[in-house]
């Protein structure tokens, strides 16, 4: 029992082949992503808005995936955090002339707090019940944003006219926004890469796979889910801040909509839940396809979400990157078994 099938009992540990490590570095691929988007800036200088919306959606989906993919608690209420981020920048800039970087910190803290409370209340719920509660909570926030005019400007909305400039950068310039969005996307990817390679990341996976077994590994599922939710919410809200500046005119309808929550979730699922780059791939696929269809196939752009998600769930249940990674894992094992 204390040895592999072939090794004789008591074989010196030095005789075994070098251990293959799991901790293959994600950094080269991250650098590739950074380079690709940087290239976008120079190759398509006339499509910066598209790049910004893509990177923001990818960032949200990657952040969503911390909770929905790595921890297995799908949420259909993440638009609430996008809206929270955008409105925090808008409200603080309009009323207190607060610098946007402080507003971003405030938004992240507020989102984290909301997630903590929200999680405390709902993590006892299982499966579908949790999903339903996320929809309900985001809906309620939308109604609050509409009805509490003094704070949010209500349906007419809130306009961001002036923002303090960090290092003399005009935050309203698409060029500056592009690099900030890229920075945001990379930040989210780095955070997710670090988290998922470490203790918390493995605890999240354990909770996703089997809570009882996770407890047997000494993991407190509620604590792990709360951490995942808090991180996911704070990162989503940070992207929401950028989006708020990008729009400069904030209205409850597009920001808090169920539609946005659904889009964030579906992008991550199509790309591959529980993979570092899956949400990014999903966002890129969907955004670019929608842009193509916008200019060529006109109306069908929302249809593709529906069709893709049905096809992915039926035929690629792990999503695009999930299936790819699984193949890589199998191949790597086959190689290590041969070598």
């Amino acid at each position: 029992m204390t040895q592999g099938p072939d090794a004789p009992r008591g074989a010196a540990p030095a005789a075994r082949p070098p251990r293959p490590s799991l901790l293959a570095s994600p950094w080269p691929r991250l650098a590739l992503v950074a380079a690709a988007f940087a290239a976008w800036y120079f190759v398509f200088p006339s499509a910066l808005s598209l790049g910004i919306t893509l990177m923001l959606l990818a960032g949200w989906a990657t952040a969503w995936d911390l909770l929905g993919g790595w921890t297995g608690q799908a949420s259909l209420g993440h638009a609430a955090f996008v809206g929270l981020g955008a409105y925090t920048v808008g409200v603080t800039a309009a009323n207190f002339d607060l610098a946007p970087w402080w507003a971003a910190l405030l938004a992240m803290a507020a989102a984290a707090l909301l997630a903590l409370l929200w999680g405390r209340l709902t993590f006892g719920l299982r499966g579908a019940y949790f999903v339903l509660s996320t929809i309900a909570i985001a809906e309620i926030l939308r109604l609050v944003a509409i009805n509490e005019r003094r704070l949010t400007g209500g349906a007419v909305g809130l306009f961001i006219f002036d923002l303090q400039e960090p290092f003399g950068l005009d935050l309203f310039s698409r060029h500056v926004e592009f690099w900030f969005s890229l920075g945001y996307l990379l930040l989210v990817l780095v955070v997710v890469a670090l988290v998922t390679r470490g203790r918390l990341g493995y605890q999240m996976r354990a909770v996703r796979e089997d809570e009882a077994s996770a407890q047997a590994a000494g993991i407190n599922p509620v604590a792990v889910k709360s951490w995942a939710f808090v991180l996911s919410a704070a990162l989503t809200a940070l992207g929401g801040c950028l989006y708020g500046v990008f729009l400069s005119a904030l209205q409850p309808q597009p920001l808090f909509e169920l539609h946005l929550s659904v889009r964030i979730a579906l992008v991550a699922i199509i790309g591959g839940r529980g993979t570092l780059f899956g949400p990014l791939v999903g966002a890129a696929l969907i955004t670019l396809a929608a842009e193509l269809f916008r200019t060529t196939f006109a109306q069908a752009n929302l249809l593709i979400y529906g069709l893709l998600i049905v096809l992915v769930v039926l035929f690629m249940p792990r999503g695009i990157m999930g299936e790819l990674e699984r193949r890589v894992v199998r191949r790597r094992y086959a190689k290590s078994a041969r070598g």
Binding site: G72, A74, L121, T122, G124, L125, G127, A128, Y129, V131, L132, S133, I135, A136, I137, E139, I140, L143, I146, N147, L258, H259, V262, L266, I269, Q299, A300, L302, L303, Y305, G306, L307, L308, I309, V310, V313, L314, P317
Partner: protein, 293 residues
């Protein structure tokens, strides 16, 4: 103090709209009870029913209450096909795959409706749709009364089907103990297809009934899905009588909230009730505490 008559007026209004909520919710609940599938495309099937009623009215001049006879069987067939082609492949897979697939189906349906009918809201005008009758000082709208009546008939029919027929017993048996059902020779996959069909027939029937009352908008399905969830969670997921109670309750809560508090938060009242029930009594207000169906 506004007096008793307005209160009764509001109560009756809430109950009438609640009846329709119940009809939307009961199909969702039935499907969950038997198959453990949360159907996120439910509201889109309601929309499908509305559009079918509109097309039949515009093309053939059929009164919506007559087109029920076409819509319900059509819903049944479509539901069976969807279940067989898509959901049956996923029923035994744990996790949220059926939830996602129905979410995707909903998007497909609403966008196809959109491509066919455009974004412009569609409605049909029936002369009796604005008539009312007075009953003990309360004004009751004729269209809603008819809708309530049809709802009553449909839900009673469903109830009789479930309790008085061989098939209904088989459905309940499958819901309560699938292994037991298979052992007595019930073809449970067939029951699943059937139940999904019935659920969709009810959803489309609800759409038809709503057609003279409301406008059809391709993208409105999601809000009906949400209503259906609220109804079923209030009543207890999987419980048919619970869905009726939940629907009526939701109607009254919304109506009273809009009347006496603020109408802007109308939808929020239902959602608050929903969250409270979810947190404090997840088995639903009308469900039993011990046993799950």
């Amino acid at each position: 103090m506004e007096g008793l008559a307005p209160f009764l007026q509001n109560l009756s209004g809430g109950l009438l709209i609640g009846g329709i909520y119940a009809l939307i919710g009961v199909g969702l609940s039935l499907i969950f009870g038997v198959m453990r599938v949360i159907n996120f495309a439910h509201g889109e099937f309601v929309m499908l029913g509305m559009y079918l009623a509109i097309v039949l009215f515009v093309q053939l001049g059929l009164d919506p209450y007559v087109s029920l006879l076409i819509a319900a069987p059509a819903g049944f067939l479509v539901g069976m096909v969807v279940q067989r082609l898509v959901i049956a492949r996923l029923v035994d897979i744990p996790g949220d795959s059926t939830l996602l697939v129905t979410l995707g189906l909903g998007l497909v349906i609403s966008n196809v409706l959109f491509l066919v009918f455009g974004a412009e809201p569609k409605s049909i005008y029936l002369p009796y749709a604005t008539r009312t009758v007075m009953l003990a000082g309360i004004r009751l709208p004729v269209a809603q009364l008819i809708a309530g009546g049809v709802t009553l008939v449909l839900i009673t029919g469903l109830w009789l089907l479930l309790t008085r027929t061989e098939l209904g017993r088989a459905v309940r048996a499958t819901a309560q103990n699938r292994l037991g059902a298979e052992l007595v020779g019930i073809d449970t996959p067939r029951i699943h297809a059937l139940v999904f069909g019935v659920g969709m027939a009810l959803a489309m029937a609800a759409g038809v009934i709503l057609a003279p009352l409301l406008f059809a908008i391709p993208t409105a399905g999601a809000s009906y899905t949400l209503k259906a969830f609220v109804v079923t969670v209030l009543g207890g997921l999987g419980s048919v009588p619970g869905a009726i109670g939940g629907g009526l309750l939701l109607g009254v809560v919304e109506f009273m909230g809009a009347s006496y508090l603020s109408s802007g938060y109308r939808d929020a009242y239902g959602l608050f009730a929903f969250l409270l029930v979810l947190l404090l009594r997840p088995e639903g207000l009308f469900g039993r505490t011990v046993k799950r169906v």
